[in-house]
């Protein structure tokens, strides 16, 4: 669906994106993680056809997005800094979008009012930041886009509204196979929403993974051995990390769960536990050195 090949973007002498490759499937919710200044916004704006993809390629459904009216009809972008025409009401803004987007769904627009509970004739500029963001979702969903590009969209929403919006998005993906790419600097925010995660760091995509795979593939093992014995048996495992806390040993290993367990059992441990890993831990261990570097930034 969305395909980014070797995208390079330069601002003056600064390279904001250094050859990014990215792939998003149809009907998928792709989370783009990265610290401030990692290049998330630049990437998303290029995906939305605002910036020109002068080096590399950005395509949606095989077509270049830049200056492509037909394609842009199906793509909506919600920026981190929202813009509404001054003194416009929600209805005024809806009228504008109605004229711009041919697939505007009036019924959807009317029915969504019950979700957001905002007055059609309220001046948008008089609304709070969070409410303005709700308006953005309201209008965007009324367009019934095939692709939504969301830049830090959940900022400023309270937890109730956050959940509501997430549900709306998931519902949309489930019903119409809409594709979403969503950026955040906070992993936890995306955990329950995304099926894919990509991490952008200093203009490079350092990791791109499917979440389910990730969780199945990595394990935390807590063991206590009777006596210090040879641990040669563990050498055939892919151990990412180990730590000793007194007599308790802690391992993070990648691979098949059964295989790992059997490997440990050979050493006849006194205690052997497999513990669940949080997504944050998975990322940190997965990414090795870079993981530690960005730990403080994307994981609170």
């Amino acid at each position: 669906m969305i395909e980014v090949v070797n995208l390079i973007k330069e601002f003056d002498d600064l390279e904001a994106l250094k050859g990014v490759n990215l792939h998003v499937n149809k009907g998928s919710i792709y989370g783009l993680l990265g610290s401030n200044g990692a290049g998330k916004t630049t990437l998303l704006k290029t995906l939305a056809g605002i910036y020109k993809d002068d080096k590399g390629q950005v395509t949606i459904d095989g077509d270049r997005i830049f200056e492509n009216e037909a394609l842009k009809q199906r793509v909506i972008f919600i920026p981190d800094h929202l813009f509404y025409f001054s003194s416009y009401t929600i209805e005024d803004m809806a009228k504008f979008y109605r004229e711009v987007y041919s697939n505007w769904n009036e019924d959807r627009y009317r029915s969504l009012q019950s979700v957001f509970k905002l007055d059609f004739n309220k001046k948008i500029h008089k609304l709070s930041k969070g409410m303005q963001r709700q308006v953005a979702f309201w209008l965007s969903l009324s367009i019934t886009p095939d692709v939504m590009i969301l830049d830090e969209p959940l900022d400023g929403l309270d937890s109730v509204m956050r959940q509501k919006v997430k549900n709306l998005l998931i519902q949309e993906v489930a019903e119409r196979e809409m594709t979403i790419i969503i950026s955040s600097h906070n992993l936890r925010e995306l955990e329950d929403l995304c099926d894919h995660i990509g991490i952008l760091h200093k203009g490079e995509l350092v990791l791109e993974k499917e979440l389910d795979d990730l969780k199945q593939d990595i394990h935390k093992i807590q063991v206590v051995f009777k006596e210090p014995s040879s641990r040669d048996a563990l050498k055939e495992l892919n151990i990412l990390y180990q730590e000793e806390r007194g007599s308790v040993l802690l391992f993070i290993a990648r691979g098949n769960k059964e295989k790992i367990l059997s490997c440990f059992k050979k050493l006849q441990p006194v205690i052997l536990d497999i513990l669940p890993l949080t997504l944050e831990e998975i990322f940190i261990y997965e990414m090795g050195d870079i993981g530690y570097a960005i730990e403080n930034i994307i994981i609170e």
Binding site: T42, G49, Y51, K52, E67, K72, P79, H81, F96, E99
Partner: protein, 675 residues
């Protein structure tokens, strides 16, 4: 116009209903305000100035001439630029730019629709006001004051200027990333052609010997700027050539603007200049202008060559830093890179400057060959050279062309050392301007400041030629039968003396004698610095004579020089002489004082006693007559010692003053001061 056709051809694809509706909704008030302003400037202004019984003279025609209210002109040069800034403000703001450009609307469509709306906002009010004015004209029967053609011309001019300035503003808006810069830069760009030419030519005045900025400025350089043109509209309505030029210019700006818009990198909004390739143009442009401005300042304050060079370096560096600071939006611009760019500039300018100094194009030494020349203009200034060859202020006779060439050669030989700062020649200093009209259609124009006294041998035969006299003295040009009345006023006019000659046969005789006087007068006689006896005006038949400026004066004026004895005796014979000039009988006595220094003059002019006992007082009529014949006006330049003359009436009141020039001091004065 260009977009009109485009719009018609592909209405379905280029018009965006959303953008149009949105623009109307957001900016209709601007159009409304503009309409109201026009309403006050035109129709309401007419209604307020309707002619009445006792107030017949009205200025309605001037409303359509842009000459009525300054307000109209100011609106004409500001409103379209403002529209350009407002309608394209979305480009200069990151958030709105992102939002608009994420919409499924192509950039050329955005450009087309915003430009169209701007033109509509600027045109519709003008058209409505024109229609209202038309109905007012019919209702109040004002055909005598303004015609439908006046209205159409007014509306056409307003719309054209509006669109031109609007398009300039839009074009600049595409290049820049800040709304304020867009506004300022638009005006700079519109003044640039004029400003740059003026600056360059004024600087060349100082560097290039013989170069005359006057010549080029009079050659309509000033009117290159649309803004200057707007302010001159009351006197110079747009010509068809200008109209076509403006339409083409507008179309070019549309096409180029559209092209650049598509190239524009949106990530660069908030930059002063969005296109990196234009940064150098901007930077070096500002540097160059500052250099010229600084050089001009120093040249104008009479600094010599080295001061001017110093000024060039200092001011160009200043300009460079300012431009760099603006581009980087920072004061910390000093690094190796910056200096490298500035050094490159200095080297380029240095080479250019050396080229000019060594005159590699041969500009300074160029005197065309006699067989290349069709005619030559020679005067003290270019004020009469506005014409083409058709006017008779250009020498075409071989002898005179040769004389001018000789003078030119002598100037080059004598004056070649005085570039940058021309020597001051004091009293004899003259400006001479030469313009050769070549057979191949080119004009070579030069201007020099010379000491005229050195050139008498060449100037005298030139000015004594009939060709020259015909150029200078209108009386030789006109048909004597066109004279309706001749009036003679004495030199010192306020003594109620005047002579009017109205009898046709006398007019005929007087004209004939005057023509003879001018024809036979020598160069010295015609340039007599002594006070003339009086001034003669000849009233002409209406519109019968066109002078060299293209005006049609109702009368011509000439001096009654002291050497015109034939005319004097004719006046005497006819009994007019008594009232035609100041007579010795009008003067009771004269006083002549000899002044030795400026200090004494100052005292004298403050009416303080100079402290000298010796002063000449004369009641002798023949001495008074001699004085009247030989005195020069008081302000005439003379060296010290100066002879100052006071003329007194019988009430001991001073009537007027004068001085003697050295060569005209009468014998009796010399003798008196000899002892």
């Amino acid at each position: 116009m260009k977009w009109g056709i485009l719009g018609m051809q592909s209405k379905t694809s280029l018009l965006s209903k959303a953008i149009i509706n949105n623009t109307i909704k957001r900016y209709y008030w601007m159009g409304a305000l503009y309409f109201i302003a026009l309403l006050f400037i035109v129709p309401l202004n007419i209604l307020m100035n309707l002619p009445t019984e006792d107030h017949r003279y009205i200025s309605i025609a001037r409303i359509f001439n842009f000459g009525d209210a300054f307000f109209q002109t100011v609106i004409l040069v500001t409103v379209p630029v403002l529209f350009g800034v407002l309608l394209f403000h979305y480009l200069q703001n990151k958030n709105s730019s992102d939002m608009i450009h994420s919409l499924p609307i192509k950039r050329d469509k955005l450009f087309f629709n915003h430009v169209t709306m701007g033109i509509l906002f600027l045109t519709l009010p003008v058209v409505i006001v024109a229609i209202i004015s038309f109905f007012i004209k019919i209702m109040y029967n004002l055909e005598a004051y303004y015609t439908t053609m006046d209205i159409i011309r007014w509306a056409g001019t307003t719309i054209l200027i509006n669109i031109l300035l609007f398009m300039s503003s839009v074009f600049v808006g595409i290049v820049t990333g800040l709304s304020i810069v867009q506004g300022i830069l638009t005006y700079i760009v519109m003044f640039l052609p004029t400003g740059l030419m003026v600056l360059v030519s004024l600087n060349l005045d100082g560097i290039l010997y013989g170069f005359s900025s006057d010549y080029y400025m009079s050659e309509s350089i000033l009117k290159l700027s649309p803004i200057v043109k707007v302010f001159e509209l009351p006197h110079f309505p747009l010509t068809w050539k200008t109209v076509v030029g403006y339409i083409i210019l507008t179309a070019i700006m549309y096409i180029l603007g559209n092209f650049l818009y598509k190239k524009r990198k949106l990530e660069k909004s908030m930059h002063v200049i969005v296109f990196t390739t234009l940064h150098h143009l901007f930077k070096y442009g500002v540097t160059f202008c500052f250099m010229l401005l600084g050089g001009l300042y120093i040249y104008a304050t009479r600094g010599g060559l080295y001061w001017v060079l110093f000024g060039y370096v200092i001011f160009s560096f200043l300009g460079f830093c300012i431009a760099e600071g603006i581009l980087q939006k920072s004061v910390r611009i000093f690094n190796k890179e910056t200096f490298k760019y500035y050094l490159a500039y200095l080297v380029t300018i240095g080479i250019l400057f050396l080229g000019i100094s060594f005159d590699i194009t041969g500009y300074q030494g160029r005197i065309p060959q006699i067989d290349e020349i069709k005619g030559v203009y020679f005067e003290n200034g270019f004020y009469r050279s506005n014409s083409e060859l058709k006017n008779n202020n250009i020498y075409v006779s071989n002898e005179n062309i040769k004389l001018v060439q000789e003078i030119h050669k002598m100037v080059l030989k004598e004056g070649n050392k005085q570039k940058f700062k021309q020597k001051s020649y004091g009293y004899n200093e003259r400006n001479i301007s030469v313009a050769y009209h070549l057979k191949n259609g080119k004009i070579i124009a030069r201007n020099y400041v010379i000491d005229l006294s050195l050139y008498q041998d060449l100037v005298k035969p030139l000015h004594e030629s009939m060709e020259s006299k015909l150029m200078r003295y209108d009386i030789l040009k006109i048909d004597p039968s066109l004279a309706k009345r001749i009036t003679i006023n004495p030199n010192e006019g306020n003594y109620r003396k005047t002579v009017t000659i109205a009898k046709p046969e006398e007019i005929k005789e007087a004209m004939e004698i005057l023509r003879q006087e001018f024809m036979k007068a020598s160069y010295e006689e015609l340039n007599d610095t002594r006070a003339a006896w009086g001034y003669i005006s000849v009233l002409l038949e209406k519109d019968s004579f066109e002078d060299m400026y293209g005006n049609k004066p109702s009368e011509i004026n000439l001096s009654w020089h002291k050497s015109f004895v034939l005319f004097e005796s004719w006046l005497e014979k006819k009994g007019y002489l008594e009232n035609a000039r100041i007579q010795s009988n009008d003067i009771h006595y004269i006083v002549v004082e000899k002044v030795e220094s400026q200090e004494e003059i100052n005292k004298f002019e403050r009416n303080e006693p100079i402290g000298k006992i010796k002063r000449l007082e004369s009641y002798d009529k023949s001495e008074i007559e001699l004085t009247l014949k030989n005195y020069s006006p008081y302000w005439t330049y003379t060296k010290f010692p100066k002879y100052i003359i006071g003329f007194y009436n019988d009430k001991k009141q001073q009537m007027f003053m004068g001085v003697f020039e050295e060569k005209y001091v009468p014998q009796f004065v010399k003798e008196f001061y000899k002892e």
